[in-house]
Symmetry: D2
Subunit: 367 residues, 4 copies
């Protein structure tokens, strides 16, 4: 990825900071003739929106998306159809709590990018995290909502599989439960909810934070997307996921577990399917073999670190190179990994949409 | 990454298969005036070369690199100086054991990309792995040998930290030992050698294979390289590592461990250094904060799966969609992760060199 | 160029159509610390704005630019300083005359992209030219206003050198006159104004249109920008100019004239300057030799075709493949080449800014 | 274009200098299943090869191409089939006349890139033009030979339409004559041969040189390739042509002539064709409307300057900033424009192949 654009044929450019007038993205290379409504995009945005439970930041942002270009309205007044030209989407920033940032402007918060920004740019937008604010991820979700519509039959879903030391029990996995209104965690395991809630309440009250692991799965991906070595589908998925704030690790299929086992255990065996295609007897590969999709579900996971905005005083320095102590007040997510679920889905969908178009370009194969 | 080119200003394009006449790469965007010798490149290639112990493939390839363009010879007859134009490097394939591949041509080996290649391209170069052959990685090592010379003071090293279930003891870490002539594993822990040797001998004799984890570290990286979100330094490092054959997961700093711990534990505290720069009290971030280098050592790890070329018969299908059993004979690495160490170093060096030039371009800052 | 993004380090992505809510651009890779005001951008936009004389379209658009991201406000309330993150600029569409486009929707206007759009996309935004509307060029001018600020000492200017059969007299060239309030043509030759006025009045009254040639000149470009063959500075300038609507030809320096003359006449001779740099005795090369700037002024020209929106009935077909006659009513520029002057300047400035950063990245050389 | 790579899906990276061991290119993104022979590539190379008449340089290079990767040999021992992986092609340099270049190393030849190279890189490969040598264009021809095979039914041809002050008579145009063995000029006008021959003989004997204009035409291009504004087909064609050494201007269709005429004259009228597609009554647009192909032949022209390697002494300076006189001995083309014909064809073919794949990717439309 170069600069703030990702994708090769389905390309997304994002812009905006926490405390400017708005954030947004430009989706370029979208096929013409894709039909959707603003409400479709909004539905995905609403899943990521802050302030929906006590476990996420209390910033109140309606996150209303405006579609500014690249579409023709149809006669029903709701449906938009893509024209093949760049689709610009914008979300205005509303709840920018006015406060005095002069304090933060001169201090380097540990675990934040304050020092590294200054080392790079010589200045930084210290208001609410600037470009690094989690708000930026709303634009990814908007782009992803379009990406989901490119590949016929594609279904992309995500779930939280652990918070700190607490893990779900995979035996209880229910995709239906992930979106349930009683589920503030995107967890697929109903039994994990009270465990996560108690754990996070304790962390929140202590003014602390904790990390999480998110799993994203794409079904309906045709075999053949990707490339052997550098435009590997799994590589581009991992790069997309690594581009999310606070992500420290990514894996595909059994991931790091593959390093522990033997060839016999790892290689997914095949049997003939009725249609001449293979039926795989396992999916350690996570749906990608040699960088190219196999037709199995694509499975990836990523690790989100705990936010460094915590109440405990921490050792640091200021811009003048003096030792200080820092503690961060404000509205923060005790576990930013929770809201990362729809973001991860969006980034996965964008990678697949891009490779779908690239594959069609090089080989002429669509559906 | 698009196609077989990676990097934005320091760009590498690789080409070649296992059984063609040669493999190679073109390094484009290299600064002018970099001095090196062919022997410098060769030294790195020799570290990756097969056939150096019983724990790696017995294919015998001298891997002699030829520099075809982009350099001016100096009067000493050895030193080459880069001119700023594309540097083409080629390695001829020598030991292509002649054999009948018609068998493999019609069969899909489990865990290999045979099926996915056919699904994508409608045909594949089945001879020795084709483009997916580990041979291709020699060209990365050659490019990396140049990349190491771009950033003044940069030192990039790697080590094997686990093979299958066996891990090193970090208390014994010795960088000096990694390159020791008695160390066939690139392990930094001398005491791990007999453990790894016994373990791998058993696996090799069983015709099996096993995965591994490699850690790569870059020291001397100036603060400021990278970008907040999409051109993140850690993201480009991870994408580079994921582009290596058989890699299934990547992480930066404490990686997946960050998902398990709290903000107080994770955020690296700082104290004032004598030079106005911070001294970090830990390096959980792995040298990258908010996508931008902090001046600390950059630390990344990647998981390599076990090769699927094993003697145990496995269930599969052929091109006609018939059930078959496959076992793979031939010269294979029982643990391909071992030779991945210099490859990982090279990919890390390339990412850093690229971001060094990009940072200089955008901000005008050199070392 | 790929998609709607141009530039490699200084990258511009534009979006928007004539009849959507807004148009805009994202400038990515801008160095941090560049100071400017919204009024600076607006001044350039006002030069391109329609409705300023009877020789251009009467559409009334205030073209007020909004800066949405990538800047920090300084205490004076006016100055903005770039942070190094993407700068999003938006211009709302105001004067979208409501009318019934169903007529045009079904007809292919000769000389317009109606047929080719349908051939590509299967549908098109027929309202006011859609993506091909000259309105889009406002976003280029906004981006160019930033680009002008990247290279210290850079001055980019443009002038109209011919309209249809009428040419300026280069002996009368006055840069000062180009921006004179009595000069509706961006012509550098005061004596050409009545000639152009009479000529265009006749054309306008006839419901016709005519082409033009624009010359753009950049002074203060340091020697060394560009590359020998593929990232040639003149090539990227020409590509930028060719990306403008209705441009059919581009040339650098003496351009097509170089094809007519001999080596002795063409090669620019040099004498030693006081500072060790050459003084060139002519500038046939247009400031670029072997793809790399020489320090002389960069001179390029581009040909703009007459708009095809004319009152004379012309033979065409409709979407059903039936023969029709088309004449185009509406508010159109009798000579779109006039307003192309600030657009050409902007595209030249963008190319130079990009190569300035690229040169600095590869070689470490600043001004 | 960035660095030495061009194209977005059909990508070509070239490398090599006049006096290194070899030159070459890597074609990446080529569709799988394209069948060709080395002789097919060689046939195009032979058209560009030097030493074939007294009107071109007498350097003797066999220009034998080697295909190093990306293909599978078929059983006939001649046919190669592309696998979809990078195709590396190499041409060894044979006739590098050994001579003392120390003279040129210290002198800046007027009209050459000697000074600008030094200004950029601080050093240069002064041997035989280095990267700027016309030899490099052989690699473009090799890539173009593949590109011609991507679009079914595509025919790309070129012709010389003027040398210095001498122009062809278009009434005599014969494509068949261009390749005639008695035609050393790629001229389509048989009657122009003695005129060009006399003219060039005089120039050659005077140790001078002269420019030329080349026209390239592509037939069989489906409607719909390109994009409205930035990925315009004509823009990418012009950028490809401008990337050729010594090219100073490019135009599409009637080009600069469009700036002189009125809308009624310029817009190509249409009548209904039998197949629902339009029949155009003229082709001023050169086959591209609004950046997108119309199905008409694509016509472009480019101006080649006279080589600056001439025997007449010219004023210049040396690396120490001293005034000198320079005259260039050696084997040079009196009119480099002649051999530019197959090069222009190749660059046109590459642009079309790339957009064909891009169009197929975005829209799913094949031929």
């Amino acid at each position: 990825m170069s600069h703030n654009t990702f994708g090769h044929l389905f390309r997304v450019t994002t812009w905006g900071e926490s405390h400017g007038p708005a954030i947004g993205c430009v989706v370029d290379g979208c096929p013409p003739g894709i039909r959707f409504t603003t409400a479709d995009i909004q539905a995905d945005l609403d899943r990521r929106r802050p302030g929906q439970s006590r476990f996420v930041t209390q910033r109140r942002e309606p996150d209303k998306v405006k579609i500014l270009s690249g579409v023709l309205p149809e006669d029903d007044g709701e449906t938009l159809v893509t024209t093949g030209t760049p689709i610009s989407m914008m979300i205005e920033n509303v709840d920018q709590r006015s406060k005095d940032y002069s304090d933060i402007a001169e201090r380097y918060r540990p675990g934040h990018a304050d020092y590294s920004y200054d080392a790079k740019y010589g200045l930084r937008d210290y208001r609410g995290g600037g470009r690094s604010s989690a708000r930026e991820t709303a634009t990814r979700v908007a782009a992803g909502a379009l990406a989901r519509r490119i590949v016929p039959g594609l279904v992309v879903r995500g779930a939280l599989v652990s918070i700190g030391e607490k893990e779900i029990d995979r035996a209880n996995w229910s995709w239906d439960y992930v979106g349930h209104h009683d589920n503030p965690f995107f967890t697929p395991d109903p039994k994990s909810v009270p465990v996560f809630a108690d754990y996070l309440d304790e962390i929140r009250k202590a003014g602390s934070s904790v990390g999480a692991v998110v799993e994203v799965v794409a079904e309906g991906v045709p075999a053949g997307l990707g490339a052997p070595l550098y435009g590997k589908l799994d590589q581009d998925i991992c790069a997309n996921l690594m581009s999310i704030n606070a992500v420290k690790g990514v894996e595909i299929g059994n991931g790091f577990q593959a390093a522990r086992i033997r060839g016999e255990e790892n290689a997914d065996e095949m049997r003939a399917g009725g249609d001449g295609k293979p039926v795989f007897l396992s999916n350690n590969a996570g749906g990608v073999m040699g960088g190219i999709s196999t037709g199995q579900p694509i499975v990836a996971r990523f690790a989100v670190k705990p936010t460094s905005s915590i109440l405990t005083p921490r050792k640091s320095i200021d811009r003048n190179g003096k030792d200080i102590e820092v503690k961060t007040k404000g509205r923060h997510d005790p576990c930013v990994g929770i809201r990362a679920v729809p973001i991860g889905e969006a980034m996965l969908a964008c990678a697949i949409a891009d490779h779908y178009l690239r594959h069609r370009g090089q080989t002429g194969k669509g559906e």
